[in-house]
């Protein structure tokens, strides 16, 4: 593959997946940090360009694994600002003031219940129900076998049912 062809392939993969990667970060970090984390993914990809799979589906998974690593690094370190993200950061200003969800109280309760799960269970739920990955894909992203992912998922759902039932009972009482 020529350098130009490789650049085209990487650029297309980044552009195709950037909206979902941005949403992934927006659901996990402060609104104004998401743009910079996306920029960091893009810059990281070029450092590891030979690892990007040719298949679009595999490339998407690879990009999300990179995003998870970037997020983990960000959670351990300091906020970083990238020049590449300057315009996007500005474009995203104001969107935080968008109208609330139809039942923001209910959504907040569910998010709170998810956050009280253990980190690995919570992330599994988020990847499946917020990002739309299959259980097998979510397990792959997290580096665990599908059978482990299924077991954890069932446990997470059971814990959520119990937590939300308790919340509903407390509200009714």
């Amino acid at each position: 593959m020529t350098a130009d062809a490789r650049e085209t392939r990487v650029t297309e993969a980044l552009a195709a997946n950037a909206p979902d990667l941005l949403a992934y970060f927006e659901r996990r970090v402060a609104h104004d940090d998401a743009a910079d984390l996306l920029a960091e993914v893009m810059l990281t990809v070029w450092r590891r360009v030979d690892g990007l799979p040719a298949d679009p589906v595999r490339a998407r998974m690879w990009l999300f694994v990179t995003a998870r690593n970037v997020l983990a690094n960000a959670e351990r370190g300091e906020r970083r600002r990238w020049r590449l993200a300057n315009r996007l950061r500005m474009m995203m200003l104001g969107s935080a003031a968008a109208p609330a969800a139809s039942d923001p109280g209910e959504a907040a309760e569910v998010r709170d219940a998810i956050a009280r799960l253990s980190p690995e269970l919570a992330e599994l739920i988020r990847l499946v129900h917020w990002e739309g990955f299959t259980l097998v894909e979510a397990g792959e992203l997290m580096g665990i076998p599908a059978s482990t992912a299924r077991g954890r998922y069932q446990r997470a759902k059971q814990e959520l049912r119990e937590a939300l039932a308790a919340t509903a009972s407390a509200s009714a009482g």
Partner: protein
């Protein structure tokens, strides 16, 4: 809350709201994808646009090197900013004193940056006014999960206030000039990764 399907629906509805992928946003994401390769590829020096600062825009001292005191003397910076390569003190339109710090990941790049600011009148080189004009001209759209979208650009209630706009423009302007000087000195863009941040009060510094 015991019904399986109901739980699935609740989980799906609980996803935090994200920025709507408007055509403008998608265009910017594509631009970033294309531009990201250039950020990683050494390139020649770019031509710098030099425009004098507009009258009345207050900028103060340029400080460089380790151990520089914060403008207010009370700011608590994170570990990354304890030995910054570039420190730029400035004043917001409201009169509040602020400080911008830049620390490069690459130590050698940081040394070059320190030399750059030691031999450059940064206050005279940066173009805050042009960056403000750029920010005001930039299309900005907000949106929600119901498909609604609205203008969030200059002139709307969502656009930053005067101080925040100025603060953002200073950050853009300083990093722009430093980046161009590094390029001119042959520092590869791949070695120019940096952390930068500004603070104008103790509360803001502690939020970082």
């Amino acid at each position: 809350m015991t019904d399986h399907d109901q739980l699935d629906e609740l989980l799906a509805r609980s996803a935090p709201r994200t920025t709507t992928a408007t055509p403008e946003l998608r265009d910017e994401l594509t631009r970033m994808a294309v531009a990201s390769v250039a950020e990683r590829r050494p390139s020649g020096a770019r031509r710098r646009l030099r425009v004098a600062l507009g009258a009345g825009i207050a900028t103060v001292a340029v400080l460089a090197g380790a151990g520089t005191a914060a403008a207010t003397g009370l700011i608590e910076w994170g570990p990354w900013a304890q030995d910054p390569d570039v420190v730029y003190a400035y004043t917001l339109p409201s009169g509040e004193a602020c400080e911008l710090r830049v620390t490069f990941d690459d130590r050698a790049t940081g040394e070059v940056a320190r030399d750059v600011v030691a031999n450059l009148d940064l206050a005279a080189e940066i173009d805050v006014a042009r960056n403000i004009a750029m920010l005001r001209a930039m299309p900005s759209t907000g949106g929600d999960e119901f498909g609604n979208s609205w203008d969030t650009g200059y002139g709307t209630e969502f656009y930053p206030g005067v101080d925040e706009e100025f603060d953002t423009a200073v950050g853009f302007a300083v990093t722009e000039v430093i980046g161009e000087e590094l390029n001119a000195r042959g520092v590869a863009p791949a070695a120019q990764d940096a952390t930068y941040g500004s603070t104008c009060s103790i509360d803001r510094a502690n939020d970082r």
